[in-house]
């Protein structure tokens, strides 16, 4: 059992969720409430990571983050090490490929808040920020919860992109999914099985907690 890899995966998923929650709220809310001409295009771009093959997407990120790219160059000059094959690079890649998982459910969540309630909030004297905090977030919560759980679970399991951008450096970029692959390559079926079982347990647990939470939240409202 590769505990280092598991801990790395959990950290990666945690940071990704932390960064994507505000992005999901801002973008989801924007896409849910605003009507504009290029809305379809924006939604399509957000969904792109879902349809691109992970290796292709990973390759694109590798090039975009590489030492010869503006992003990679800036990172190198700021922090003194390269972005690719580092934990930070992995987090950044993870944020990007999880965009659809964070934004889409959040958008559905905000769409479920009736326009009349937002108007009522404004007429109660609530500023847009206060309305978001007091009315929209509590009601859009199931969508946001789904967004966070999907992001978390998806980060734990992602393989192709992580391998392309991060490689397999123990303690730095070797996630549990990659560790499982390594164990299989080394004919260590038992370790692979144990780690797979751990991953399945964690995923099941997260999903179960979400369902329980959203059921509990939903009960008071209907």
């Amino acid at each position: 059992m590769d505990w280092t890899a598991l801990w790395l995966s959990l950290r990666l998923a945690g940071w990704t969720v932390l960064f994507l929650l505000p992005v999901g709220i801002v973008m989801g809310r924007f896409l849910a409430y605003r009507q504009f001409r290029s809305k379809g295009l924006v939604e399509a771009v957000v969904m792109l990571p879902l349809v691109l093959p992970p290796t292709v997407f990973g390759f694109c990120l590798l090039v975009a983050f590489g030492r010869n790219s503006p992003v990679g160059d800036l990172w190198q000059s700021l922090f003194g090490h390269q972005l690719v094959f580092s934990f930070e690079g992995l987090v950044l890649a993870s944020i990007i490929f999880n965009l659809p998982f964070a934004i889409q459910p959040a958008q559905r969540g905000f769409e479920a808040v009736p326009a009349e309630l937002r108007e009522a909030a404004a007429c109660c004297g609530m500023s847009p920020l206060r309305s978001l905090w007091k009315v929209e977030l509590p009601l859009a919560w199931p969508g946001l919860m789904t967004a966070m759980v999907l992001t978390f679970a998806h980060t734990l399991g992602e393989f192709g992109i992580v391998l392309m951008v991060g490689g397999s450096i123990p303690g730095e970029t070797r996630t549990i999914a990659i560790s499982i692959y390594d164990r299989v390559q080394a004919f260590d079926g038992q370790s692979a099985a144990i780690m797979s079982a751990v991953l399945v347990t964690i995923s099941l647990f997260t999903i179960a907690v979400t369902f329980w939470l959203s059921a509990r939240l939903g009960r008071g409202l209907s």
Binding site: P114, E116, L117, E119, A120, A121, A122, C123, C124, G125, M126, S127, P128, S131, K134, V135, P138, L139, G220, L221, S222
Partner: protein, 370 residues
């Protein structure tokens, strides 16, 4: 603290309306759905913006398209009761009320909920309240904002008739203590006549007629938009006696009226809405008639309409009642202004919700606005 409104627009519906509401006055915007009345209310609230428009409250501009002034809804100090109440489903009744306060004050929330007769229900979630109770929470929430303008958007349309009558009475009781302009949007002429001081009848975004409730209700042309059968006069009366046979005797300036049970102790002042098409006119005082109410009066005007009917204005005592009869009948009776006639009203023709408590006899309530 008067409210002045002017709005012009072409889409989504054409609109060209201006009106003024005085402090403490209830103005009813009456019209069919799609007439633009709700859009007007949304203009006042800042939820919709007309091409050209101006909304001033007590001299402060909330909207002025010429001067590029457009206050966001949350900066306009107004209370609004939405048609479906729009209560926050995740908050208790008290939390809903406090949501509209500048600083949450549980005791003030309690007081407002008491005011709308919701004592002891402050911890209920909206889903646990009946339609009428939800409406009362919405009213309390609107008042919690300490509004300079109170807006009511069809607030009685989502409840059953019995509840509606009760809520009407409560609003009448409450309004004696409302010092701000109140705008009521409704398609129900009866409701407008019972609750409002003045009416603005709107059709296809334009004002058909504006004036005091009595004036508008007496004008068949004004009510053509709403249906001629809605024309009625309001007769003030006092509850005199509840009779053992289930009738109530009311004393009106026009003489005694016998109506099916009217709630209220003897001495309670009420308004009775007498529908013009329910009134029969007779030259001679009729005898052997089942109708219980025969009022002697004098014809003041005979106004022909477009169709086969005429509207006869009859002064009985100090008050005017209206009779809508056929042109043929008016000719047969040779009705002329100055003639003496007897107006006959069937007791059973006055619907229960056509009798409302007069608002100056409202039960004493604490001041709502300070």
């Amino acid at each position: 603290m008067a409210l002045d409104v002017m709005a012009e627009a072409r889409s989504p519906i054409p609109l060209d309306v201006a009106f003024r509401v005085e402090p403490g006055e209830v103005l009813a915007l009456v019209g069919h759905s799609g007439s633009g009345k709700t859009t007007l209310l949304r203009t006042i609230a800042g939820l919709w913006r007309p091409v050209r428009g101006r909304v001033t409250v007590n001299g402060t501009r909330w909207l002025d398209t010429v001067a590029q002034v457009d206050l966001a809804p949350h900066r306009r100090r107004l209370g609004i009761v939405f048609q479906n109440y729009a209560l926050f489903p995740h908050m208790t009744a008290a939390q809903n009320v406090m949501a509209a306060m500048d600083r949450a004050d549980p005791r003030e929330a309690e007081r407002l909920l008491d005011l709308v007769n919701l004592h002891g229900l402050s911890d209920r979630m909206p889903a646990q309240l009946s339609g009428g109770q939800q409406q009362r929470v919405a009213v309390a929430r609107a008042l919690a904002r300490r509004p300079q303008v109170l807006l009511l958007d069809e607030p009685f349309s989502a409840v059953d008739r019995a509840t509606r009558e009760k809520l009407h009475a409560e609003i009448i009781a409450l309004r004696a203590h409302l010092k701000m302009p109140v705008v009521l949007v409704t398609h129900d002429v009866n409701e407008a006549q019972l609750l409002a001081d003045r009416m603005v009848v709107i059709e296809k975004g334009s004002v058909v007629r504006a004036g005091s409730t009595a004036q508008v209700m007496a004008d068949p042309d004004a009510l053509r938009a709403m249906g001629i059968r809605e024309v009625a006069a309001m007769l003030p009366a006092t509850v005199a006696e509840h009779l053992p046979d289930g009738l109530t005797r009311l004393d009106a300036a026009t003489g005694p009226l016998f109506l099916p049970t009217v709630e209220g102790a003897p001495g309670t002042r009420v308004h009775v809405r007498v529908m013009a098409h329910e009134v029969i006119l007779s030259r001679a005082r009729p005898e052997g008639l089942s109708a219980q109410n025969i009022l002697a009066g004098r014809v003041t005007r005979v106004v022909p309409g477009v169709g086969p009917g005429v509207m006869v204005h009859v002064t009985v005592g100090d008050h005017e009642i209206l009779a809508r009869i056929t042109r043929r009948a008016a000719e047969q009776l040779h009705l002329q202004p100055g003639d003496t006639v007897h107006a006959i009203l069937k007791s059973m023709s006055v619907a229960r919700d056509h009798v409302a408590r007069a608002r100056d006899t409202a039960p004493d309530l604490k001041q709502v606005t300070r």
